[in-house]
């Protein structure tokens, strides 16, 4: 049944041109990340001071930066960082949010209120401003990026999962199971979890580009990756510092970010259209 479901979901996604566009970009990103070393025409750390600020050419496909490093090779390496942070941070914050959301939904009233208050409070931190404050306390690096993302985003999963759980809690089939004495674990794993996962994965898909943007943004501000790491944000920072020398670093550095966020967002949209029957009908 599951296989059939997945098959038909994929089938339906493939029938949607925007979803195909989105999946092409995402598959492209993954391929580039895996084969970054093989497809890079140059060593991304190699400085070629004679060729500083070179415009795009057959040697340097996307030009070079202020140190004469090949921008294309740096961006290819950057895709690894982007994907790594996105996957790790979304998994951690998603898991925390999933567990807390179900606890809030199923737990006693006071616990629900407490968790809701915590979710509300965490939402009061503007992400990048909190990132700056924490950057003053924590060492610079990807783990700091991940910590910032987790703190500011698990509450979002928590809210969605809580709402979903609450609406299921009093659904007739669950009340019937309870009346028959089913254990809490059975109800959670057999009924609640499967029903919560749909909206949860849509949210996760929508959050991947947000996380990638946060990483790039923090690296742009110099509070993300350590110096010299070829994050997309770091490349953009170089481009910004030398905007009067050459526009190419910024133009090239922004492209993968825009493409990837577009790809994930369109995929999230398409997933939502397919997984949420209510929305599908209203279209």
């Amino acid at each position: 049944m599951m296989g059939q479901f997945r098959h038909s979901l994929l089938g339906r996604l493939l029938a949607d041109p925007m979803a195909v566009f989105a999946m092409t970009i995402i598959v492209g990103l993954v391929v580039v990340a895996i084969f970054a070393d093989a497809i890079s025409p140059h060593d991304h750390t190699l400085m070629n001071l004679a060729d500083r600020f070179a415009p795009p050419s057959s040697t340097y496909w996307l030009g070079t930066d202020n140190l004469g490093r090949d921008t294309f090779s740096r961006l290819a390496q950057g895709s690894r960082i982007a994907l790594y942070v996105a996957i790790v941070a979304v998994s951690i914050s998603g898991t925390i949010g999933l567990v807390l959301g179900m606890i809030a939904g199923f737990g006693p009233r006071w616990l629900d209120n407490l968790l809701l208050f915590i979710f509300d409070t965490l939402r009061a931190y503007p992400t990048i401003i909190l990132a700056l404050a924490l950057a003053a306390l924590l060492p610079r690096g990807l783990s700091t990026v991940i910590i910032v993302v987790v703190i500011t985003s698990f509450s979002e999963y928590g809210r969605v999962v809580r709402t979903q759980t609450l609406s299921l809690k009093n659904a007739e089939f669950i009340l019937a199971e309870r009346a028959m004495g089913a254990s809490a674990a059975r109800i959670v794993f057999h009924h609640v979890l499967p029903n919560v996962l749909g909206p949860f994965f849509i949210l996760a898909a929508m959050n991947l580009p947000v996380v990638i943007t946060i990483e790039a943004g923090m690296s742009f501000l110099g509070i993300g990756v350590p110096p010299g790491t070829p994050s997309w944000g770091a490349t953009l920072k170089d481009g910004f510092d030398y905007i009067r020398n050459t526009p190419w670093i910024i133009i090239a550095g922004g492209l993968p970010l825009i493409l990837v966020t577009l790809g994930f967002t369109f995929l999230g949209e398409a997933l939502r259209d397919q997984l949420d029957p209510k929305l599908r009908k209203s279209r």
């Binding site: 009061a124 401003i129 790039a216 009067r244 910024i250 369109f266």
Partner: protein
């Protein structure tokens, strides 16, 4: 009697919301403060920055009661804040409150500019799409909206700086304009606030479109039309009034995101503001200023979300009945 009853309900609702907002600000800032004083390392370095002299440190340790229990320190911290003392910016030798409150108006202008862009363009786009639903213009505007939402705001800021300021020279590249000259201020504000607002144009357009379509299906819209009100009046007066409500809420909550984007806009366009203040303070490890900026940023955000919520309740009488 009836009117009195209604006002009372609204007041009660407002009171609850204000309490919640205060509690959120209190807990959010206290949590940050706690992290700051309990993190390993010499707290005097943390709070004064590495440049402070040993004498300054000793005096500071004493004055701040750094050896007191954490709860006492939090209480003292709030005591000082409430008496208007946010500490000293030792790097530039001025009170933190001065630094923070001279920066805040610039950030507020940026955020409200972004809201202006997103509300006007977003509502127009959304209402237009709903009015012409399923036409190709509706589809294009749908795809554009998603594109706006997806594009990272700092890339938008960088690209628009590159295109409109550096290359075309239509807009200035640096600063917030001449003090006291409104035209110059607005001229400097236009591009950065647009860069922040673009994503929200997308959000607002989508929400207005969806809630408008939902509203147009409601019975009271049919009632209005059954009484012969014109289609335009019904759509842009009756339906839009209801359909805007969720957009107000989203923009209120969205100010958090806009504050994050404002950091980038301030740095990319070299503007003063909370974002660039906190950015400069972090590189200088200027913790009192970081704390003060956080307090003001969170306070501003929570207040705006609260106002949006109350405006919504005032516009939608059903809301406060709940």
């Amino acid at each position: 009697m009836c009117i009195f009853g209604r006002g009372e309900k609204m007041l009660q609702y407002a009171f609850q919301r204000v309490l919640l907002a205060l509690a959120i600000i209190f807990v959010a800032i206290s949590a940050l403060f706690t992290i700051m004083i309990t993190l390993p390392g010499d707290p005097t370095t943390v709070l004064l920055g590495p440049r402070a002299t040993p004498e300054l440190r000793a005096a500071f340790r004493l004055s701040m009661g750094l050896d007191d229990p954490v709860l006492v320190q939090i209480a003292n911290f709030w005591g000082r804040i409430l008496s208007g003392d946010m500490g000293m910016d030792y790097n530039r030798n001025r009170p933190v409150s001065e630094a923070v409150f001279s920066a805040l108006p610039h950030t507020m202008a940026l955020v409200f500019g972004a809201i202006f862009w997103s509300a006007t363009l977003g509502i127009l786009l959304g209402a237009f799409s709903a009015d012409n639903r399923n036409s190709w213009l509706d589809r294009v505007s749908g795809i554009l909206s998603v594109g706006f939402i997806a594009a990272p705001s700092f890339v938008v800021a960088l690209y628009s700086l590159l295109l409109f300021s550096v290359t075309l020279r239509w807009f200035p590249t640096i600063g917030a304009g001449e003090p006291g000259d409104l035209a110059s201020r607005l001229y400097h504000l236009a591009l950065p606030s647009f860069a922040i607002g673009l994503a929200w144009v997308g959000y607002v357009a989508r929400i207005v479109r969806a809630s408008m379509l939902e509203t147009l299906g409601e019975n009271y819209i049919r009632t209005a039309r059954a009484f012969g009100l014109t289609r335009r009046k019904v759509i842009y007066n009756y339906a839009l009034r209801v359909a805007i409500l969720p957009a107000v809420q989203v923009l209120g909550v969205g100010i958090g995101g806009m504050l994050s984007s404002a950091v980038f806009a301030e740095i990319v366009f070299s503007r003063p503001g909370i974002g660039s203040l906190i950015y400069d303070s972090v590189s200088g490890r200027n913790y009192p200023v970081v704390m003060g900026s956080m307090l003001v940023a969170i306070g501003f955000f929570v207040t705006c979300a609260l106002i949006a919520d109350l405006v919504n309740a005032a516009l939608d009488p059903r809301q406060r009945a709940k």
